[in-house]
Symmetry: C2
Subunit: 360 residues, 2 copies
């Protein structure tokens, strides 16, 4: 693998900035593709050019993990993962944890969830029971209640067994508001644990790959971990929390770099990746930075509380392997740069296409 030279990196950066300046968000495709659901470039242009264009309002525009409405956080997420059951979890606890985490990433205490089910005719009731039991256990573990719901059934072939859509409301008890636009030069970038386990587990569970690996999904509720981190720092020192789901850590970092108009530099060597995940990624030709986690978060914190923040994460079972993986710089704004194991530097761009469809 050859690394770009310093000059070619600078050229790339200039080119990228120029391209961004010229382009207004638009959807080039006439039809929806799987890439529109991948969390990367296509998803971003669909959101900007279709959804934001139609619904534009001050509460929606920050495009965070949820909306801040006074002292309430409100969020929604749909789950179309396949297979429905996989090592370490199923669509049920994934759907509960996913929405719990979106609320936690707003700095909210998750309180109440809704659950909507789109079921395919012929879906075994026993599977549905197993899924709802798993949702109930996940809700209890996260300290939330499922308080309202809806069920629709579509004909055979018109869904894929079961889709679940959870929405959540939580209380914003803290004065400071977290935001992807709040990162400042000098801040530290923390990842709460090893990345990519959920995505690779799902890929292996599909049985299409001839890889043996002892992996389970990392699906977990992050509200306690996030609260511990926020408690450990002063108000405002934690700039931003994001769970690294679709599109992985790379996508989250790009969103923060763009919203905050800063550069983010991360060190490949320090980013925690389990050997089984790294091995599977190499065989699949995927960078683990783009692989979805469902129980890991990225935190951007003020430099002066970075060590305190890290210590707080290490105290929680879900944050044992947390690491400071990089920092925020002022230049080049909007870009994520990776210092590679080989001593080079490369741009970590938003994902194009979808190497891992139906991951959540």
């Amino acid at each position: 693998m050859t690394e770009p030279t310093r000059t070619s990196l600078e050229e790339q950066v200039l080119l990228r900035i120029e391209r961004t300046r010229r382009s207004r968000p638009r959807v080039r495709d006439e039809h929806i593709t799987l890439a529109h659901g991948a969390g990367g470039k296509a998803t971003h242009s669909l959101i900007d050019a279709v959804f934001l264009d139609a619904f534009r309002n001050p509460l929606l525009e920050p495009l965070g993990d949820g909306a801040h409405i006074g002292e309430t956080a409100f969020t929604t997420d749909s789950f179309v993962v396949t297979p429905l059951f996989f090592p370490g979890g199923d669509i049920g606890d994934l759907a509960v944890n996913g929405t719990v985490n979106d609320l936690a990433m707003c700095g909210a205490r998750p309180r109440h969830l809704s659950a909507a089910f789109i079921l395919e005719e012929g879906f075994p009731v026993a599977h549905l029971r197993r899924i709802t039991a798993s949702m109930a256990a996940a809700a209890q573990a996260a300290g939330v209640q499922i308080v309202t719901g809806d069920t629709k059934v579509v004909e055979r072939g018109k869904a894929d067994g079961c889709y679940i859509i959870t929405s959540g409301v939580g209380t914003l008890d803290r004065p400071a508001r977290l935001s992807a636009a709040a990162a400042r030069p000098g801040d530290a970038v923390i990842v709460s644990g090893p990345i990519g386990e959920h995505g690779i587990t799902i890929m292996l569970a599909r049985g299409e790959l001839d890889i043996e690996a002892d992996l389970t999904s990392d699906t977990a509720p992050l509200a306690d971990l996030a609260a511990g981190l926020l408690d450990a720092c002063d108000d405002g020192q934690v700039r931003c929390l994001r769970d690294a789901t679709r599109g992985g850590v790379a996508t989250v970092l790009n969103e923060i770099a763009e919203a905050s108009k800063v550069a983010i530099i991360v060190n490949e060597d320090i980013i925690p990746v389990r050997p089984d995940v790294r091995g599977a990624c190499e065989l699949l030709g995927i960078d683990p930075l783009y692989v979805a986690c469902e129980g890991r978060m990225v935190a951007v914190v003020a430099r002066e509380c970075a060590e305190t923040a890290l210590a707080a994460l290490h105290e929680h079972p879900l944050g044992r392997d947390a690491a400071i993986v990089g920092q925020v710089n002022d230049d080049p704004p909007g870009l994520v740069l990776l210092k590679t194991t080989f001593g080079g530097t490369r741009i970590v761009d938003l994902l194009v296409g979808d190497p891992l469809p139906r991951i959540c």
Copy 2:
């Protein structure tokens, strides 16, 4: 058509009461059928035996159109209507109005909506734009904002173009809480307008029936209509509001009769049904009482404010044809009885099966 004699009606009532007493809710089927999504008997047993069994908590148990969390109402609804576009509306305004109405039926002022999209690979972006434009217009008309969302894409054949799931939060500004369990003997039962237009419009839009009728969906936001009714009556005089969607007015009345342990007697002659709807229902062999509306509500109000309530509804364009269609009795508890045009009386039971799948 022969009507049951008085004696056979009494026998039916006794039999039904005995059957209800003996049966605990359970799902007899091993697989999900379309009937589980129809809002009738199968939906009720699925909710009781699977969802309520797994998630049971005091906020969920009333099983209203939404949950009451302090001063906030919270609700969710999924939309899988086919076709996506139909006379009078599309899946977009249906999804906004549906959740706005669920909040309004809680007595809440609808404020903020989330929107989740499950899109099928290959779905035309132009259709999505048309749908989001229609959602934006419906949100503006109802005075709500779409503040958060999610998009997933599934492979060709794994959805049906576009499913939309909206959740909503609203503020409960009034002291009295509406409840399906609050109906009392002597109360009046009001229907806000002609029934069944949405359901029959969808059936005709599928083009499978050789019927010509000049019908459009009744999809509309009911928040203003409901607020006008609540303002006109004293606190507590409006017992219950329900929008008559899946399963129609018959289902709503059964839910109220069961929750309140009262009988509800309605007069077939007084229930407003447009001639085109009545004609289509006769040809289809469907009772209009079971056909979905998306802009009509059932109100149970104290006898002493019934005329005031009716006058308030008549003042609003969506309530021009409102009528007092029946009353609440104490006996036989849990049953809905219809006084027919022919002078007889028959039990209006919960729907069995699903004559109109994918109606919303």
